[in-house]
């Protein structure tokens, strides 16, 4: 492996102390209430905290906190495309970059982007693109950067919500907001908005195991992105999609309110008198 000469390096090998824990880590029960007190088999999403316009340098920015999942998104642009050789000059380009802070996961991750980050960036781009009026921005690019500060599950879903908020804050013309929601199917039961442990736990080799993330345009009632992994029956998948849409509708008022308060702050309504 080539050495990274652009960062300070520690020892060649270092191991996470979690490998040597004297007690085995707590396993997640596949029935009964969830560790954080939420209900299983119900659209019980974590309460979220959202704020727009926190970053002074960005055109638009948003911060979202759902339980312990914390992420931040900045939108820049529209600005001139860097790649001049692009054939479709009539239409703008959306560039997404999603990164995890090295300390965001229980195990430290390397600074160098892995395949997971690139996959998520691509998913994010594909989910956001249908919602943006890209034809209004010919020969220009819009950049969306997401930084995951703490990962406690459902990162992609929240990144989609956060990114669409940042784009709206940047004043980019859009057809609709994009909301994300994810669920994990575990045999007959399911959990909505899973935490990190729930996401990665695999109870036993039963059938019908999988994760599903849906990106949803709430006022158009359309799905712009869908990612599913694992093995699920057709019936489970359709009900799963419906569950996620329901979850998105639960988020919608909170997001609307956050956006409205940002707009109100930027341009206060004229006083009554």
């Amino acid at each position: 492996m080539p050495t990274d000469t652009k960062r300070l390096r520690g020892p060649d090998v270092s191991k996470s102390p979690s490998l040597y824990f004297s007690k085995p880590p707590a396993t997640v029960a596949s029935h009964g209430p969830r560790a954080d007190g939420r209900q299983r088999d119900q659209v019980d999403i974590r309460p979220i905290f959202v704020r727009c316009g926190l970053v002074s340098q960005a055109k638009g920015s948003a911060y979202i906190e759902a339980g312990n999942t914390k992420l931040m998104c900045c939108a820049y642009g529209p600005r001139e495309t860097e790649r001049k050789d692009e054939t479709d000059m009539k239409c703008g380009r959306l560039i997404t970059d999603m990164r995890f802070a090295p300390f965001s996961c229980p195990e430290r991750t390397s600074w160098i982007q892995g395949t997971q980050d690139r996959d998520l960036s691509l998913m994010l781009q594909e989910s956001l693109q249908p919602a943006i009026c890209l034809h209004k921005y010919p020969r220009s690019q819009i950049e969306v950067n997401v930084m995951v500060l703490e990962n406690n599950g459902s990162v992609l879903a929240h990144a989609i919500t956060c990114a669409s908020l940042a784009l709206a804050d940047a004043g980019i013309e859009m057809y609709d907001l994009v909301l994300g929601c994810s669920m994990r199917q575990d045999g007959a039961s399911y959990v909505v908005d899973p935490s990190y442990i729930e996401e990665s736990s695999c109870s036993s080799d039963r059938e019908n195991q999988g994760c599903l993330t849906v990106a949803f345009l709430p006022s158009l009632n359309q799905i712009s992105g869908l990612q599913s992994d694992g093995e699920m029956t057709e019936a489970t998948l359709t009900t799963g999609v419906r569950t996620c849409i329901e979850g998105c509708y639960k988020l919608y008022p909170v997001i609307q309110q956050a956006l409205a308060s940002t707009v109100r702050k930027a341009a206060p309504p004229p006083s009554e008198s």
Binding site: R7, S22, A58
Partner: protein, 277 residues
């Protein structure tokens, strides 16, 4: 009108303020922006701190891992600081590996850690020659509005003060380490280095805690790091126009005052966390 003047003649715009001994954001020349601190907000990290100096925002997360000590220093652990300026924090940074500024900042932080002896690396040794801690101090800028070095040093110091390492014993039979998560102890912080940055305008006017715009227009930058005993840990001036001895003295005395302010702030925030618990 003012906005147009600012865009067309940024230097003249700033000069007209400096003539009146104030700055576009309403500060006087020797005034720092409001500094806020949030300690321990990231639960996946062993220690963390978020610092805001004006709108400049920096987050530092510390992750501890186990490693073998280097052969030449068998009784010492490692501290590996890295500063990242992602494209998220300002439109001037491009995606990809860290640029010169980020690398220079990483080296500066590493030098401050080594010079100030904020942590004795011997404290990080668990068993001589066999096992030690590596502290990965990853500092990420979330909003770049100038004076990144000051914010990085505060974030690092606050995060180190928040870091709790689990107790580790080496099993004598299997010679594998055993980590006791329930028993965590704080790191021993020997010194409290704090940085203060200055900018020189038009070769003569000295301003404190520059914003991004002021940094761009200035002719020289200077960062002074002091600890609580008034010792200097770093006088970092990477070039630019020259500075007279009196001006330098002025910077140093301002830096010592800043050190006291920040140490008080950190202690206050840590205390408020303890009482909240």
């Amino acid at each position: 009108m003012a906005a147009g003047f600012k865009t067309a003649e940024p230097l003249e715009y700033h000069r007209s303020f400096l003539k009146e001994n104030c700055r576009p954001d309403g500060r006087v020349l020797s005034e720092f922006r409001t500094t806020t601190l949030n300690i321990g907000s990231i639960s996946t990290a062993d220690g963390s701190a978020l610092v805001k100096v004006g709108s400049t925002t920096v987050i530092c997360g510390i992750k501890a891992e186990l490693a073998n000590p280097a052969v030449e220093t068998p009784g010492k652990g490692y501290i590996v600081p890295n500063v990242d300026l992602p494209p998220l924090c300002s439109s001037r940074f491009r995606p990809g590996p860290p640029g010169e500024q980020a690398q220079a900042a990483s080296q500066f932080i590493a030098d401050v850690i080594e010079s100030s002896e904020v942590i004795d690396t011997e404290d990080l040794c668990i068993e001589r020659g066999k096992l030690c801690w590596v502290l990965y101090c990853d500092i990420i800028c979330l909003d770049y509005d100038g004076n990144i070095l000051d914010a990085c040093v505060i974030a690092l110091l606050a995060a180190l003060k928040n870091t709790k390492l689990p107790e580790v014993t080496v099993n004598t039979e299997t010679s594998t380490p055993e980590v006791n998560v329930e028993k965590r102890s704080l790191l021993h912080i020997h010194k409290h280095p704090v940085a203060a940055s200055f900018c020189v305008f038009d070769d003569s006017i000295l301003i404190v805690d520059p914003t991004d715009e002021e940094e761009k227009l200035s002719t020289a930058q200077l960062t002074v790091v002091t600890d609580e005993e008034g010792q200097l840990c770093s006088v970092h001036k990477p070039g630019g126009t020259s500075l007279s001895g009196e001006k330098l003295q002025e910077c140093i005395s301002r830096a010592t005052a800043r050190q006291r302010e920040i140490q008080k702030l950190i202690d206050k925030v840590i205390k408020s966390i303890k009482t909240a618990k």
